[in-house]
Assembly symmetry: C2
């Protein structure tokens, strides 16, 4: 029998999960839950239902794992503990500083209901976290580096769009190649914010807007841009659509460490991602962990888990025997 998946929230991430489920023959999409009027939402999977969020409780026995595709700012802190009362749930909560609190909330709810909740699944947090953790455990004497990009930052693009005179914008975060190379040479440099990433902005102005003023406002915006070397390009709406409609991303996790009786040997562990679609890749990770949630639940486990708590074999559709034979 297939693992029956529900999706709550049908934006870029929800659609990504729908596509990922299609690629995994041991899963099927059962229903999509939306806050919009279901008659206005058209999904890709012909066999799945589209329902109002308010109806989700009726699906309690028809869904094995509910994947929460809302945002981290306001949706997930409320939704994940709430729906963990009814379903095994997975989210991609990515506000790093608030993870301990979110973990505690989901853990309490899931333990009470006897469900599994897996939080902060994706690539960062997610695969990048895993790689930081493995590398730290292996090389205790070393330094960590995470670089993001080249990729579109939704938050930074939004911040530009809020400036008066801006019609639309896309912002790319770009790792500084020289910094990456220094780390790869084993130099363990101390890097400032400015030395790690640059920011490149493509901006469409409203008619009559003052380009110089907009550029100044972007470059001096605290937190978002003022600590970075930022480049601003003004382009037409057609150019933005034609050249910048994708949502690529990626990045690098490195750990440089020393071993030997007198720390005489250097080692570099590097993990990198180059993604055409940030939400689709995130969705693929989530769906693999949905399989894990289903299996952990079958074993009677409950409570909140993160990628650190789950043995890798749970993610794979292959048996332990096949994994040892083919991939070990």
């Amino acid at each position: 029998m297939s693992i029956r998946i529900g999706i709550l929230g049908y934006g870029n991430l929800g659609r990504g999960v729908e596509c990922a489920v299609k690629q995994n023959p041991d899963m099927e999409l059962t229903a999509v839950f939306t806050r919009r009027d279901p008659s206005t939402v058209s999904i890709l999977t012909e066999t799945a239902a589209v329902c109002r969020v308010s109806e989700v409780e009726d699906w309690k026995d028809k869904i094995d794992v509910l994947i929460l595709c809302g945002g981290s700012a306001t949706d997930l802190p409320k939704q994940t503990p709430e729906y963990a009362k009814l379903f095994h749930v997975i989210d991609s909560f990515d506000t790093h500083a608030r993870i301990p609190e979110h973990f505690a909330d989901v853990d309490a709810a899931a333990k009470e209901s006897g469900k599994i909740g897996i939080i902060s699944v994706g690539w960062d947090p997610g695969m990048f976290s895993l790689n930081r953790m493995y590398a730290n455990a292996i090389l205790p004497d070393g330094a960590d580096y995470t670089f993001w990009g080249k990729g579109v930052s939704q938050g930074h693009s939004d911040a530009i769009r809020r400036i008066q005179g801006v019609r639309d914008a896309k912002q790319y975060t770009i790792p500084v190649e020289a910094a990456l190379e220094a780390v790869r040479r084993g130099e363990t440099p101390t890097l400032s914010t400015r030395e790690k990433h640059t920011r490149e902005c493509f901006v469409v102005l409203e008619e009559g807007a003052d380009a110089a003023k907009v550029e100044e406002e972007i470059k001096t915006m605290p937190n978002y841009f003022s600590d970075y070397d930022t480049t601003v390009h003004f382009i037409s709406e057609e150019e933005l659509k034609r050249d910048h409609s994708g949502i690529p991303h990626g990045g690098f996790v490195l750990r440089s460490g020393k071993t030997g009786w007198n720390q005489e040997n250097n080692h570099l562990i590097e993990y990198s991602l180059k993604l055409d679609s940030n939400p689709e890749f995130t969705s693929c990770v989530i769906v693999a962990y949905a399989r894990a949630a289903y299996r952990l639940a079958k074993e009677g486990q409950t409570g909140c888990k993160t990628v650190f708590d789950i043995a890798p074999a749970y993610l794979s559709a292959k048996s332990g025997e096949e994994l040892r034979k083919v991939l070990l």
Copy 2:
């Protein structure tokens, strides 16, 4: 209380484990067991004993995890099941084709004795296997590539040394940059053996040996060299000592995969290692899994495990709370 480690076999790997234990404050090296006369073996850790392998049973209650540092060809297939009767054990068994059989032997022994045995720990098998497995679970529609090097292959160096007229030799396995780049571009090429790696040999001849004949013998050696583009350099003994006494290694695991409703998006996952000392890095991985073995045993688990079966958090000295706060 520290995790008490025993080492069986004191070659490059055993010494590497000794160094790695020193870097982990929650562990201590208790004893080294050797087939040589203990009075002839001098170790680095002042507080540890050096004993005969035949005495190992006396240490049953004084060692928490015994790390087996023998070779995969003849030592480990016998030793790991044998010592799993007395201790929680870890090995770095790396004959990929014989892993299923070795797993079954260790599993039977460890289940009977109520011990944990973790096999095939290191970087390949080990960290490379983990990365192949995670990447396969995340991108089910894709292609895998593993490249090794640049690094010293012990087996190939030994094969050259067995040729008449060769006094000493070192062989480097080198990934073909063009093949790596094609994979990184998302081309999913089908690569022959020759297209993936080249082999570079540094050879010291015996006096009066025929260089042309030795070169021919190397380049045509079946399995080892005949399927590769091989370069042979003849150098002096001093040059070999000066420039080629290290045992560096490393490599790359890549998975290139597609997502999207119509497979329209490409993704690349890449994991790479650049290691000054192959045995010391392998040892670091083993020691992290020794911590996992200790904890799994405390939970009452028994039998044979591989890196696929162990949740990442078990490897780290940090608590779950700290991991979530700092590394997630």
